[in-house]
């Protein structure tokens, strides 16, 4: 096999891996949109906030230290302890659940029945708030995430596959972090599916997604379900924040990964969990392959816009996305 062909396969493999990373972000959007019809613009900032909180707790940082020092003239920065990773993750999840509860209690409870664009706008307000709040709480410097996640290309795969091509083929490059991310994503999706299929709350969640009023009339508490859904979105945000933060350090730009998830959502449909995964894979492969084949001819850096154009092309044929619920319009 020629080296170019093999490299093409390598690009596809890496595209699939990148797609999983996109899908991780997109999942959070889908969960909330499906259950409450809210397009949650704050999902990216939630990922940032969750990752910041995790690092802050692990490093024993004092929350709001800059503010406290400014107001009281003190010099506190660290508690001087390090929290083990698992405990820190548990505390972070607790924070995200508290956040979900607060969002429901103070914001969306008052906005029940509003138009989608108003709800969307409310999540924008939430995004502003959370961004400033996260900065105030943990500071705006770049933090290193020490969860012990593996990094770097897998030597084993590289050596095993190096013989496939000629001298100018060096074997497939697969990032170990991506393998872990894929595993985590599979576990996450499977447990979400199990949760929604086989537990009482999961069934209630699906009932709410189907029809709010019918669910309400059989005694399901909408309030509880929405808190649950936002908590789950918080969990997904934490996973996405950790995976992306392992690469770049935890910093403000993490909130921008939401932009990578939008074409995935469009393609997969806003309401489908499998759609988010399949959409992610298609976008990942599509943009990487385009950059590999066509990119050099037009000067490169095409990925950002090509993902959207690709999704757009799919939408022209299926306006509700690949797995979205068919839009039925009646007069």
């Amino acid at each position: 096999m020629s080296a170019d062909f093999l490299y093409g396969i390598e690009v596809i493999l890496n595209g699939l891996m990148a797609g999983v990373m996109y899908a991780l972000v997109a999942l959070g959007f889908v969960l909330i949109f499906k259950a409450s019809g809210i397009f949650n613009f704050a999902q990216g900032v939630m990922a940032l906030f969750a990752a910041l909180t995790l690092v802050g707790i692990m490093e024993g940082q004092v929350p709001f230290s800059h503010l406290i020092n400014e107001v009281f003239g003190t010099e506190v920065h660290h508690f001087g302890w390090h929290v083990p990773a698992l405990l820190a993750i548990a505390i972070t999840l607790f924070v995200m659940v508290a956040f979900a509860w607060a969002v429901q209690k103070f914001l969306f409870k008052h906005l029940v029945g509003q138009e989608p664009i108003i709800l969307f706008m409310a999540t924008i307000g939430l995004a502003y708030f959370l961004e400033g709040f996260g900065d105030l709480m943990w500071g705006s410097n770049i933090k290193t995430l020490n969860l012990g996640l593996p990094q770097g290309g897998s030597r084993v795969i590289e050596d095993m596959t190096a013989k496939l091509g000629g001298d100018d083929f060096y074997g497939f490059f697969i990032d170990k972090l991506d393998i872990v991310a894929t595993g985590v994503a599979i576990v996450l999706v499977l447990s979400l599916i199990c949760f929604s299929q086989f537990t009482k709350q999961g069934r209630a969640m699906r009932a709410v997604a189907d029809d709010h009023q019918a669910a309400l009339s059989v005694g399901i508490s909408l309030n509880f379900i929405w808190v649950l859904v936002w908590s789950l979105a918080g969990l997904v945000a934490l996973v996405a924040g950790v995976m992306w933060g392992a690469k770049s350090g935890v910093q403000f730009s993490l909130s921008l990964i939401a932009l990578k998830a939008l074409p995935v959502l469009m393609l997969g449909g806003f309401t489908s969990i499998p759609g988010a995964i399949v959409g992610g894979l298609i976008i990942g492969v599509g943009e990487k392959l385009f950059e590999y084949l066509i990119g050099p001819m037009v000067g490169g850096a095409t990925e950002n816009w090509f993902a959207y154009v690709l999704a757009l092309a799919f939408l022209v044929f299926r306006p509700q996305g690949l797995f979205g619920e068919k839009i039925i319009e009646r007069v």
Binding site: N69, G139, S140, G153, F252, E287
Partner: protein, 429 residues
């Protein structure tokens, strides 16, 4: 209505209190928020701490107290314009916009308002032609110098021969990232190396395609013009594909502590340019004594001695020297922006003076003239030692390629002069 009245009241009080004081006003357009906060915070800390130290120790410059006006730009052009307009009325002496975008806004504005701009190692490269850009100074070095310095360093490493070497440039797909391409293309022709630019789109969190391409093509060297999250991801990805880190060289905005620490031990050996010396300087002790121990540290005080802190301090020192020069030329302590411009144009930084200031060898020796606002353009190469957790200077100051960049600067500044209707010539009051 209420808000507007409030602003009006607030603004007028601010303006009134400002004009009553006669002191040296130095604005600091910082960015401690937003995507680039990690770079902006230490720079601004160093800039302010040094000036505060001068106030505390020497009572300012030439006996005149310094007043720092910090204004948060968030690296955003419109906020930068707002900051400029809100501080210029208070008699600001010199602006350091700290962003290429804001610099381009301010070049025409500051020229019209007659306030000097100092863009240290960023901004418009051709501004080093002082005959066209009377009010803009970009000493001690610019991006085109940086490209020359890197190539000269590589020449040195390869005993003067780069023929048929492959050199790739990973760049931020913006005006800033595209800066070195022309210089590198010209140098590629002279030295016979193969040059390949590889663009990374903003913000640069996902660079897999670019690094797979580098892995396929195995260039001998990879240069980087990155900023923000792009730096951290690029260093991580380079380590992932097993690219030899000592052949990966960033420019001076891609070589601070926070760029390499997220990648941990994998970043060991990564090199970058720097326009200023790093390491322990006597002046840090002074800052500690007069500023930090008094509880006046800017920010949280944790950045003392980092790469960008030192650079911010260096920028403040250059401003101090320019103001001192202006005081010397004009014989008054309370100088105006126009006088500071004269001071900048007559600026000469000698090794003795730097030692005297407690910053031995912090920058190259250089002097500014009416024709040349660009300084010497010298830079050093530094390397990250992940074990020790610090940058180590590898070389002494390296010369750029003035004979290559000179004609490019003349060409670009001539084009600007034509577009803006400027007749080149020295500023004559």
């Amino acid at each position: 209505m209420k808000l507007q009245t409030l602003t009006a009241v607030a603004l007028s009080t601010a303006l009134v209190s400002g004009s009553a004081l006669a002191d040296l006003v130095i604005p600091d357009l910082s960015y401690r928020t937003g995507p680039y906060a990690a770079g902006g915070t230490p720079f601004s800390d160093g800039f302010q701490d040094y000036l505060k130290m001068l106030n505390a120790r020497d009572g300012g410059i030439g006996g005149e107290e310094i007043r720092i006006l910090e204004c948060e730009t968030g690296y955003n052009t419109e906020k930068g314009v707002e900051c400029y307009e809100s501080t210029k009325g208070e008699g600001a002496l010199i602006y350091q916009p700290l962003s290429t975008g804001i610099t381009y806004q301010l070049i025409p504005k500051a020229t019209a308002d007659q306030i000097p701009l100092h863009t240290m190692g960023y901004g418009r490269t051709s501004a080093s032609n002082g005959e066209v850009f009377n009010w803009v100074f970009n000493y001690p070095a610019n991006y085109w110098d940086a490209a020359g310095v890197i190539v000269n360093y590589l020449l040195d490493e390869n005993s003067g021969d780069l023929k048929d070497k492959d050199i790739a440039l990973v760049y931020h797909n913006s005006a800033y990232g595209k800066e070195p391409i022309r210089t590198l293309e010209a140098l590629a022709e002279i030295h016979g190396f193969n040059f390949k630019p590889i663009a990374v789109d903003h913000p640069g969190q996902e660079q897999k395609s670019q690094w797979l391409q580098i892995r396929r093509e195995r260039p001998d060297y990879v240069l980087m013009w990155g900023w923000g999250v792009m730096n951290q991801v690029a260093i991580q990805e380079a380590a992932n594909i097993g690219f030899p880190m000592e052949n990966f060289i960033g420019n001076w905005w891609s070589g601070a502590e926070h760029d390499v620490t997220p990648a941990g031990a994998a970043a060991n050996g990564y090199k970058s340019l720097n326009m200023n010396r790093i390491g322990d300087l006597p002046v840090f002790a002074e800052i500690k004594k007069h500023v930090h121990e008094e509880g006046n540290a800017s920010g949280d005080g944790s950045n003392l001695g980092t790469v960008l802190y030192t650079r911010g301090m260096y920028a403040a020192m250059l401003a101090q020297e320019a103001i001192a020069k202006a005081q010397e030329i004009h014989g008054v302590a309370d100088v105006t922006p126009v006088m500071v411009r004269d001071g900048m144009e007559a600026l000469a930084i000698s090794a003795d003076r730097m030692t005297e200031l407690g910053m031995e060898n912090i920058g190259p020796e250089f002097s500014v003239s009416c024709e040349d606002h660009g300084g010497s353009g010298l830079g050093i190469v530094q390397q990250w030692d992940a074990g020790e957790g610090k940058w180590v200077a590898l070389t002494d100051y390296i010369e750029p390629n003035d004979d290559v960049t000179g004609p490019l600067i003349d060409e670009d500044s001539a084009a600007f002069a034509k577009e803006a209707g400027i007749t080149p010539g020295c500023y004559a009051g």
